[in-house]
Every structure is written in C-alpha cells, then in structure tokens.
Amino acid sequence: MKFAVLVQEGPYHHQSSDSAYQFVTAAMDKRHEIIGVFFYHDGVINSSKLADIQADDRNITKRWSEVGEKGVDLVVCIAAAKRRGINDDVLAPGFRISGLGQLTEMAIKSDRLVTFGA
C-alpha cells in the first residue's frame, strides 16, 4: 500500500517524531511504499542539521536522513520552515523544502495518510 505521514511536532519536545519514525520503518519492513513524510508546524525542526545530540540519545534528524537514503521523500513545509528559521542552509541530507501542494499530493495519491502530532 501507499502510505504518507504527516509530522506536526518538533523533535524531542513531543514524542510525535519518534512515533512517526517507528511507524514509517515498521511499514517499510512490511514492504509498504512510503510516498512521503511531510513536516509541518514545529515538525519542520526535524530537518535541522544544526542539532547537536549527545551520544547516549537518539539522533532524530539523522534517523530521518537514513529513511531518506532509502528513497523516502522528506518534505519540509516552506511556509512553516521560514517562520522557524529553517532554510536550505540548515537542511540535513534527504530533506527538501517545498509547499503545501506536496501535502495535498500525498493526501490524494496515498492509500493511507497518518498524522502524528499536536
């Protein structure tokens, strides 16, 4: 099946990013196609490579980049990103900044869209 995921919260502050990551990897293990992960609201902060994480904690951004390496489209909302100081200069590998049209496409093209957040 074609899955899409919406992440509405920033990393570390809420568990949403962790839950979304666990869900996405479990779905990929079951050979589902993840057509995209869309980062909205504070979720855009997931994409910042400036995060400096202690060795004994998970690196949420790096985990997403690994998901991106497997071909999953990681889309950061441009309007939400601008407000929060996220631009191409701070974007970690695998992420791209684009518009809400991408979320619309995911809603239309996926069999399931799962929201993690708020």
Binding site: M1, F3, Q8, Q15, S16, S19, Q22, F23, T25, A26, A27, D29, K30, H32, R112, L113, V114, T115, F116, G117, A118
Partner: protein
C-alpha cells in the same frame, strides 16, 4: 476508521472526543501518553470496559513498556509497531491529539 489517541485521558479530552465520533465497531489505538487509559486499576477502567462493548481497543506495546505499565485492562489488546501498521492496512485513520 482507526482512531489514534496519543494523549493521557487524565489530561486531555482527546479520548472523549474520539469516543463521541467513533462509529460502532471502529477500533481505537492508544499510544504515547494515550496508553495511560489502558492501565488496569485506574478510575477509568469501568469506562474503558464499557467502550470495549462497542470498539476494539488496542494499546501500543512499546509505549506501555516505556512507561512501566505491565498490566492492562482485561480485553485491551496489546500490539507492537508491526501490529500498528497492520491496523492501518485495514483502516483509514483519524488522529485525536
């Protein structure tokens, strides 16, 4: 429709709202802080048992473990992330956060 509830029922109206609009038979998955609703011996136990007359109720194992909850209310089904994915295969989702 699979209803996803990630807030503690002791702190938020998410579960209340979910129950208000969930049609009979629609499954409910408690995860993140939502799993506190699945714990046995709370003031909500009778209510959840009542809910289970109309809805299958699931609780996410990884979140139960993370919060030290060993015993869930009789009838609540414990599932892991692969089980979560299987539920989503069968149902569209509605998030109550």
């Amino acid at each position: 429709m699979l209803h996803l509830v990630n807030k503690s029922p002791f702190a938020s109206t998410s579960l209340e709202s979910c129950l208000k609009f969930a049609t009979k038979g629609a499954p409910i998955l408690l995860f993140e802080d939502g799993i506190y609703g699945a714990m046995s011996g709370t003031a909500l136990e009778a209510k959840i048992k009542d809910v289970m007359k109309d809805h299958p109720v699931y609780a996410l194992k990884e979140d139960l473990m993370a919060r030290g909850i060993d015993v869930v209310i009789d009838g609540v089904k414990t599932i892991d992330y692969p089980g979560f994915v299987e539920l989503v295969e069968r149902h569209k989702t509605c998030t109550w956060s």
